[in-house]
């Protein structure tokens, strides 16, 4: 199907939609935002593949002009965009411009390619490490891998070859490589509303060695999605590892809510039994060891993350129960009461995770799903339109925004 819009416009439209959903009555529509993020992912894939193709072409031209063979064959980045020849395009950051001349000639291109490649590296390293797949399911930084079970043609481009991680699979504690800091198009995120996305918190979470100030505030530039799991949202993991105070209740199969208005008490009984829960190795209250990775796979344990059981909450009588869910219950919601900054869960989402897109836009969408961006914060976050426009205004900024995916 031909689309009248190019990838950039689609991305900008999608961002606008996501942003405007903040102010819609009735709260964030999880379903619609999920679908919009799929479009974002698809458009991003196409855009990046086009960028890669273009930069590759420039790279090739440089090399031909220089008539120098590439020195470094560190990484073999095989990438093929639709329409490109299937033969692998080898280049790595160190291959760009063997000499100073080339550098002088195409600094911008090289710079961008470097960024893109760095991002790609991080993505794939992450993916390789976590999924132990020899071949990325998707190409490049473009949402490596399709969402579970939904591989589409865009994410299975011919010619994508296995990528050799240059330095072996990094472990998760590897500090985030901050991308080239530059003029930050986005204002810093609000600490309270954005605690899950605060790069400082996330950096502390994922890489204790990373200097806290390393990542500039704008999540777009600073938190490459390559480290999606730790970087983005400790708040989302509040369910992953129940705090000690939860042990007493985590195996409970009920969730009780007190409606403060009507004083109606409702109990939702979860559909699993205590023995199912404790049979799982991930059951901390049974003392069977620390919760390990792949939490999502333990269906029985999933129950213990039912709202209300995770939070040692405020003194709300209703245990902040269903209210403990992110506002609107959307995946993009920063958790205003994130508490689990102390741990860094091992489980890592696919690089193509939907909310990575949003978390990357960080401050541009601060409180994206929060209906009440604290006015006490720093300057009001840019709305999606401004963010996209600014991002699109200059190629460099655009690359950074996209790279931040």
């Amino acid at each position: 199907m031909e689309c009248a819009l190019d990838a950039q416009s689609l991305i900008s439209i999608s961002l606008r939609k996501i942003h405007s959903s903040r102010t819609q009555r009735g709260g964030i529509k999880l379903h619609k935002n999920l679908l919009v993020s799929y479009v974002l992912r698809n458009a991003r894939q196409l855009y990046l593949s086009e960028r890669y193709a273009e930069l590759y072409r420039r790279q090739q031209q440089q090399q031909q002009q220089q008539q120098q063979p590439p020195h470094h064959q560190h990484q073999h980045l095989a990438y093929a965009a639709p329409g490109m020849p299937a033969s692998a395009a080898d280049f790595g950051p160190l291959q760009l411009g063997g000499g100073g001349d080339a550098e002088a000639r195409e600094p911008a291109a090289r710079h961008q390619l470097h960024q893109l490649h760095q991002l790609h590296q991080l993505h794939l390293q992450q993916q390789l490490h976590q999924h132990q797949h020899p071949a990325p399911r998707g190409c490049a930084a473009a949402a490596a891998g399709a969402p579970a079970g939904g591989a589409g043609a865009l994410s299975e481009l011919p010619g994508c070859a296995a990528l050799q991680p240059p330095h072996g699979a990094p472990h998760r504690g590897q500090p985030l490589e901050p991308l080239q800091p530059g003029p930050v198009p986005l204002p810093p995120p609000a600490p309270s509303a954005l605690c899950p996305r605060d790069p400082r918190a996330s950096a502390a979470c994922s890489a204790p060695s990373a200097p806290p100030g390393a990542a500039p505030q704008a999540a777009a530039a600073a938190s490459p999605p390559a480290s999606p799991a730790p970087a983005s949202s400790p708040g989302f993991y509040r369910g992953a590892y129940p705090t000690p105070s939860d042990f007493g209740v985590h195996c409970s199969s009920q969730t009780t809510v007190l409606d403060l208005d009507t004083h109606v008490v409702t109990t939702v009984e979860n559909g699993y039994l205590h023995q199912d829960c404790c049979a799982s190795a991930h059951c901390p209250c049974c003392g069977q060891g620390a919760p390990g990775p792949g939490l999502a796979s333990a269906a029985g344990c999933k129950r213990k993350y039912y709202p209300g059981q995770e939070e040692d909450d405020d003194d709300d009588e209703d245990a902040g129960d269903l209210g403990a869910e992110p506002p609107g219950g959307a995946p993009f919601a920063p958790c205003k009461r994130a508490r689990f900054e102390d741990f860094c869960p091992d489980s890592s989402p696919d690089a193509s995770n939907i909310s990575n897109l949003i978390s990357i836009f960080g401050s541009g969408f601060s409180g994206l799903v929060s209906r009440q961006p604290d006015s006490s914060e720093q300057p009001p976050p840019l709305n999606g339109q401004l963010c996209a426009k600014q991002a699109l205004a200059s190629l460099g900024a655009w690359t950074r925004a996209i790279v931040a995916f």
């Binding site: 009248a4 709260g27 379903h31 679908l35 479009v39 993991y237 939702v268 269903l322 609107g328 696919d350």
Partner: protein, 450 residues
Amino acid sequence: MKEGKGAGGGNDIQWCFSQVKGAVDDDVAEADIISTVEFNHSGELLATGDKGGRVVIFQQEQENKIQSHSRGEYNVYSTFQSHEPEFDYLKSLEIEEKINKIRWLPQKNAAQFLLSTNDKTIKLWKISERDKRPEGYNLKEEDGRYRDPTTVTTLRVPVFRPMDLMVEASPRRIFANAHTYHINSISINSDYETYLSADDLRINLWHLEITDRSFNIVDIKPANMEELTEVITAAEFHPNSCNTFVYSSSKGTIRLCDMRASALCDRHSKLFEEPEDPSNRSFFSEIISSISDVKFSHSGRYMMTRDYLSVKIWDLNMENRPVETYQVHEYLRSKLCSLYENDCIFDKFECCWNGSDSVVMTGSYNNFFRMFDRNTKRDITLEASRENNKPRTVLKPRKVCASGKRKKDEISVDSLDFNKKILHTAWHPKENIIAVATTNNLYIFQDKVN
């Protein structure tokens, strides 16, 4: 229509305009937008819900035996405010009062019961008639004021006297606080004691008598919300098997679950999924494959799903592909980009079966709606418009010209009005009477009775 005639095919019968309900002016008040339409089990009552949280129930007049050229008309029977806008203080969220679904309970006594739901709360309403009034109290005046007992000199026995029919709706149960996400479906079990409610990520099982407790039977919320890839879009109980239900997802899959298998039905018994056609891949593939509605056939053998461009009939015994696929408006496939821009691509169309499961119906744009006859494989496009206003006017079939030369009477794709959409339709359980909701009007069509 009597059993013998059979609920005929979309093309074999001629559909006639019968009635239209709602405001005439083009300026549509948002609160008047119809959000759900449902016949009750006998077809005598027709309920609509709107964005303003109101429920309007129409009742069919008893058939006039003498004038048998038309069936009874539907007239307003009861109107009540079902849901009010609320504010969730904990999450700083406004909760819309829009009625997402109405489901009737089968009638057990003189009163009628229905479930109505908005995004967060389900309510059981009792609709009862009152046509008698007690009169002749000793201690109360007729207007209700109390009499001074010392003024009473004689005693009388109060009696019931007839009065004008009054239809009262009263909320009997309120099922609240069990859904974090937006409720999209409710479905009453064939045991008539329990029902399910589904939101984006969870499905709860309720007992109609118990409001302070529900049982979670499906939970697809990932431990890490960033891993979220699909949501639940619709759910329904099997019409005959009280242990079976299905739920559809935004990824175009349907899962059938058996509640006997385990307390938590996270593992499906059957998974219905059709592999995607790679040649149709586009930016919007995920959106248009999202299922907006799922309905079991009356027989329980089949189920129908609606995605953005098509209607699919699935045999419950075959999981790998549907047995029938009907294109609703394939000409929109090349317009997905603009439909994405104007948000129409997110419209959730519903679908319905006729009483004998031989014809299925669904809505489209430009106030068009489509019917597909499963036996003859013929389909028809009709329009809900006030232009065909006279009762018993036969509706003229419509045709959309996808491309090329436009024939006379055809409408080109570009002149379709995408603001006029028919999302909600309902078919009388026994007769060829259909209710079609445009934005703020309800149209009732019947087949031509000779």
